[in-house]
């Protein structure tokens, strides 16, 4: 009887091992990325090393202007990212739109945003704003005012966003990342004086699609 049970167990283990092995072998084929085209001339995106929060924030601007999603993904926390909208942006969308906004939702947003056929001009800080020097392994930088002009290539329409936010940066392993982005309020257009929305409106529009 004991021998029979042991035999069954061996057989079951063998089935499991075969299944797992087959999956691994199969994965070797279907997990191969495509071969990229060599870069063309004049299309360099000069990301800064993520050695300080200032560089990380600047990299987001470079990612926006190049519509380059990997640049955004590389600068937000690889472990836990969160986004907290301002009240005005949150109220424009269904109640659960921003609940649990994490790295996956952020990546979904940025891909949806860039894939929608937009050209972006990004000023990630106001003139005169300076980042404090990096210190410790976590830093909160307050009252950052960013300003985006988003041109829709399909219809030529232009929408501007200007918001004030607090951002928590964290040192994870060897580099700084954005750990939390909290939009505080929309700011006025410096040219027209028109009150503008924060990027929460963009996140709500593209992150839920």
């Amino acid at each position: 009887m004991k021998t029979g049970l042991a035999g069954n167990r061996r057989r079951l283990c063998a089935v499991g091992a075969i299944w797992a092995g087959a999956t691994v072998l199969l994965s070797g084929c279907i997990f191969t990325p495509r071969v990229p085209e060599p870069p063309g001339a004049g299309v360099q995106i000069d990301y800064l090393p993520q050695s300080s929060p200032a560089n990380v924030w600047a990299n987001l601007g470079k990612s926006l202007e190049a519509s380059h999603a990997p640049g955004w993904e590389a600068n937000i926390s690889q472990d836990e990212f969160s986004y907290i909208p301002d009240d005005a942006a949150r109220d424009q969308f269904p109640p659960d739109t921003f609940v649990g906004w994490d790295r996956d939702r952020e990546i979904n947003f940025i891909n949806g945003f860039y894939n929608s056929g937009v050209s972006i001009i990004a000023l990630m800080v106001e003139d005169g704003f300076s980042f404090p020097p990096p210190s410790g392994s976590e830093m909160t930088v307050e009252n950052i005012v960013y300003y985006l002009t988003v041109t829709n290539d399909a219809d030529g329409s232009q929408v501007r966003y200007r918001g004030q936010c607090d951002v928590i940066f964290r040192l994870e392993a060897n580099f700084w990342y954005i750990y939390q982005w909290r939009d505080l309020q929309g700011e006025s257009d410096p040219i027209t004086g028109q009150p503008l929305s924060t990027m929460g409106v963009l996140r709500g529009s593209f992150g839920s699609k």
């Binding site: 069954n8 283990c13 797992a20 691994v24 997990f31 191969t32 990325p33 495509r34 990229p36 085209e37 060599p38 870069p39 063309g40 299309v43 360099q44 995106i45 090393p49 050695s51 519509s67 380059h68 999603a69 990997p70 640049g71 590389a74 009240d87 005005a88 269904p94 109640p95 659960d96 860039y114 894939n115 929608s116 056929g117 404090p132 990096p134 210190s135 410790g136 392994s137 009252n143 005012v145 829709n152 399909a154 219809d155 329409s157 232009q158 929408v159 004030q164 040192l171 392993a173 060897n174 580099f175 505080l184 309020q185 700011e187 004086g193 009150p195 593209f206 992150g207 839920s208 699609k209």
Partner: protein, 692 residues
């Protein structure tokens, strides 16, 4: 939302199908969430309150209470009693002060009939912004209990809020909202006709909202009726067939800006499913279809659905929008269990067409397919789980006025994971994990240049051993490789492969009942290799980064009332860029940065008497950065924080209890990133509650 409440309650009433109710069809596929939401939310069996506001949740909970109490009917006098629970409190933190007052009144009548009123008032004053928010909410629910053969409940809500914000340019905005709602709902959870078991539900409500934001009014007065029927029949032992039909209609008038127009919406959904629990198989197969049509006032939107009224006359800013949705969801969820093996399968297919007549978005088409396969095996000593997940989704769009579609945007994702656990020998466990994933973005007809692949491999091994009861060790090794590839020439200059290694040994030692020590050392190493680093048009250099971290934690309990905690974190890291590779392939790097960070932290908790404790904590950090290059520069920064406070929790009187909770802390902080408002502030959470 009534729809959600009704169907969540209705679906929960189907006998034999409670554990296998259809999940939200949009689960894991937010792509379909927007247009399927009305239907999808209604089918969410896991969390029936998902998406509700706090007020709506309170209403839902109240309705559940009404329902649950019908099972044990209370007899006696007509009026059973009333309970009032007032609560007043204040909270403070680095961002805001909040003052609030709640009053919950519950009156109980014969036959489990319950009248409940919840009133909430709050005032928020922001420290870092010129902003105040005041809110007044009231929810009144009345459940008739078991006095009638159907469950009937009435509710009325009032939500009022005023948000005054002044931005840095001095622009002051007043956002006001006053919303009122009254509704009645009826539910017949179990109605047996022959072999069929039915659940019937119906509701009616009126909604009135007046709001203004940035000088633009957004008002509506609407009435809504809806009804649903779910029928289930047992077709074989352990197998049930259930069908569901639901319809809703809304009509009223809306005002947006200066434009007034009638509004209406109607929708229906039809679903059918087979639920089984027989032999080795448990699962369900379901098909759900939904249609929705909504007519409402909206601001002019561009092809991406963003409000775009710049340069338009007032009369052109608002349009009469007609939105239609057709959606269908198929789902198979199955679990086979054979001995110690489990095989789980989940297949879903969702399609959704959303059309706008006025918005530049036009027609949006979406499809979302998911396959999850999981194999598990468990014994006393070994266990493993493997899973393979596949996601394939796309969306397409035909802009308003266009004759052809934009092109599909595909998103494909594959994930394989293997987890293995083994008890190696006495008190020693081993965990192994392997993961491989590929995520692809593909634009049909190359309508954009954002095609990209991200390939990731993770491997980790962890061994834990309890040497003796008071001493344990841990060893972790982790490896990760991430390939970020942009496919098109205009984006591929930054393509790179990142390889990371982490080694982390640690131990925990309870030296004596009043003294324990934990210490761990972690080393992180990351190499970044740019795929086209040698090309003339690419000026990126491969790099190498390393960080070591020694973390120490000591806990001292000198007495039952006092606990002291001391932590120390010591970090040393450097960053280097590749300068050359020799003939044998050895790479040479130049250091660009050295950084050393040391942080010491101390905390104390002293329990003065039961329910009263004093707490304090402080830390100080020294950060030294040495930038290496033509000019070496050393920067040293110090930062720190200290807080001290008390925590009180007391309760008086057994009858009509009075309860006090108070947490107060005073914070002081300094450092390069600490602003004036963050350097000196109070944190508190104080409330007083009475029940009578």
């Amino acid at each position: 939302m009534i729809l959600l409440i009704l169907l969540a309650v209705a679906v929960a009433g189907v006998p034999g199908a409670d554990a296998q109710l259809p999940d939200d069809p949009s689960e894991g596929g937010e792509a379909l969430g927007d247009s399927l939401s009305a239907l999808a939310d209604s089918l969410d069996a896991d969390d029936p309150t998902a998406g509700m506001t706090e007020m709506e949740k309170a209403m839902f909970v109240a309705s559940q209470e009404d329902r649950s109490e019908t099972s044990t009917t209370v007899v006696g006098p007509f009026f059973q009693g009333v309970v009032n629970v007032p609560k007043a409190g204040t909270m403070a933190n680095v961002r805001q002060f909040t003052y609030y007052l709640d009053l919950v009144t519950t009156a109980r009548f014969q036959g489990n009939s319950v009248l409940k009123n919840t009133f909430k008032w709050s005032f928020e004053e922001y420290r870092k912004q010129d902003k105040n928010v005041q809110k007044r909410d009231n929810v009144l629910t009345y459940g008739l209990g078991a006095n009638l053969p159907v469950i009937i409940s009435l509710d009325g809500t009032s939500n009022w809020s005023e948000d005054q914000t002044v931005n840095t340019a001095g622009y002051a905005n007043l956002s006001k909202r006053n919303q009122k709602r009254a509704g009645i709902r009826a539910l017949r959870p179990v109605l047996q006709t022959g072999i069929f078991t039915h659940t019937l539900s119906a509701s009616a409500s009126i909604n009135d909202q007046k709001s203004i934001n940035q000088g633009q009014r957004n008002d509506f007065q609407e009435g809504n009726v809806d009804g649903g029927l779910q029928s289930a029949v047992r077709i074989a032992p352990g197998v049930s067939l259930a069908g569901r039909i639901y319809g809703t209609a809304t009509s009223g008038e809306r005002l947006l800006g200066t434009t007034t127009s009638p509004s209406n919406a109607d929708g229906d959904s039809l679903g059918v499913g087979v639920y089984y629990n027989r032999g080795i198989a448990v699962g369900r197969v379901t098909i759900t279809g939904a249609n929705f049509e909504k007519k409402y006032l909206d601001f002019k939107r561009n092809t991406n659905g963003l409000i775009d009224t710049v340069g338009l006359d007032e009369s052109q800013k608002v349009v009469d929008e007609l939105e239609t949705t057709d959606a269908i969801a198929y789902e198979l969820d199955n679990t086979f269990r054979v001995g110690r093996f489990g095989f789980l399968t989940r297949l879903t297919k969702l399609t959704d067409n959303l059309n706008y007549t006025q918005s530049g978005m036009g027609l949006k088409e979406k499809e979302h397919d998911v396959m999850d396969l999981t194999l598990t095996y468990a014994t006393g000593r070994d266990s493993f789980a493997t899973s393979y997940d596949y996601l394939w989704k796309w969306d397409d769009q035909r802009y308003n006025g266009a004759t052809e579609n934009r092109g599909r945007q595909y998103n494909k994702s594959r994930d394989f994971e293997f987890n293995y656990f083994r008890n190696l020998f006495r008190r020693t466990n081993l965990n192994l994990r392997y993961h491989e994933g590929l995520v692809q973005e593909i634009a049909q007809y190359e309508y954009n240049d954002n095609d990209k692949d991200r390939h990731q491999i993770d491997f980790s091994a962890r061994m834990d051993r309890n040497w003796v009861e008071k001493f344990s060790t841990t060893m972790v090794f982790a490896y990760q490789e991430v390939q970020d590839y942009n496919i098109r020439a205009s984006r591929s200059s930054t393509n790179n492969v990142k390889e990371s290694y982490e080694v982390s040994p640690g131990y925990g030692w309870t030296i004596s009942p009043w003294l324990s020590l934990d210490q761990s050392y972690r080393v992180y190493i990351q190499y970044t290799n740019y795929s086209f680093a040698g090309e003339d048009v690419v000026n990126r250099a491969d790099d190498y980064n390393k960080r070591g971290n020694l973390a120490t934690k000591v806990i001292i309990d000198p007495s039952d009332r006092l606990q002291l905690t001391i932590r120390h974190d010591y970090n040393k890291r450097f960053a280097a860029a590749k300068t050359a590779t020799d003939a044998t392939g050895n790479a040479y790097y130049r250091r660009d940065l050295n950084q050393t960070t040391s942080k010491i932290e101390m905390g104390m908790v002293f329990r003065v008497v039961p329910g009263v404790s004093l707490e304090a904590s402080t830390y100080r950090t020294k950060d030294e950065r040495q930038a290496l290059g033509p000019r070496n520069a050393v920067t040293t920064n110090y930062s720190g924080e200290m807080w001290a406070g008390a925590h009180v929790r007391r309760r008086w009187f057994k009858k009509n209890p009075l309860e006090l909770s108070a947490m107060v802390r005073k914070y002081n902080a300094f450092g390069p990133s600490v602003t004036e408002t963050s350097s000196d502030y109070w944190e508190s959470d104080i409330w007083l509650k009475w029940e009578f």
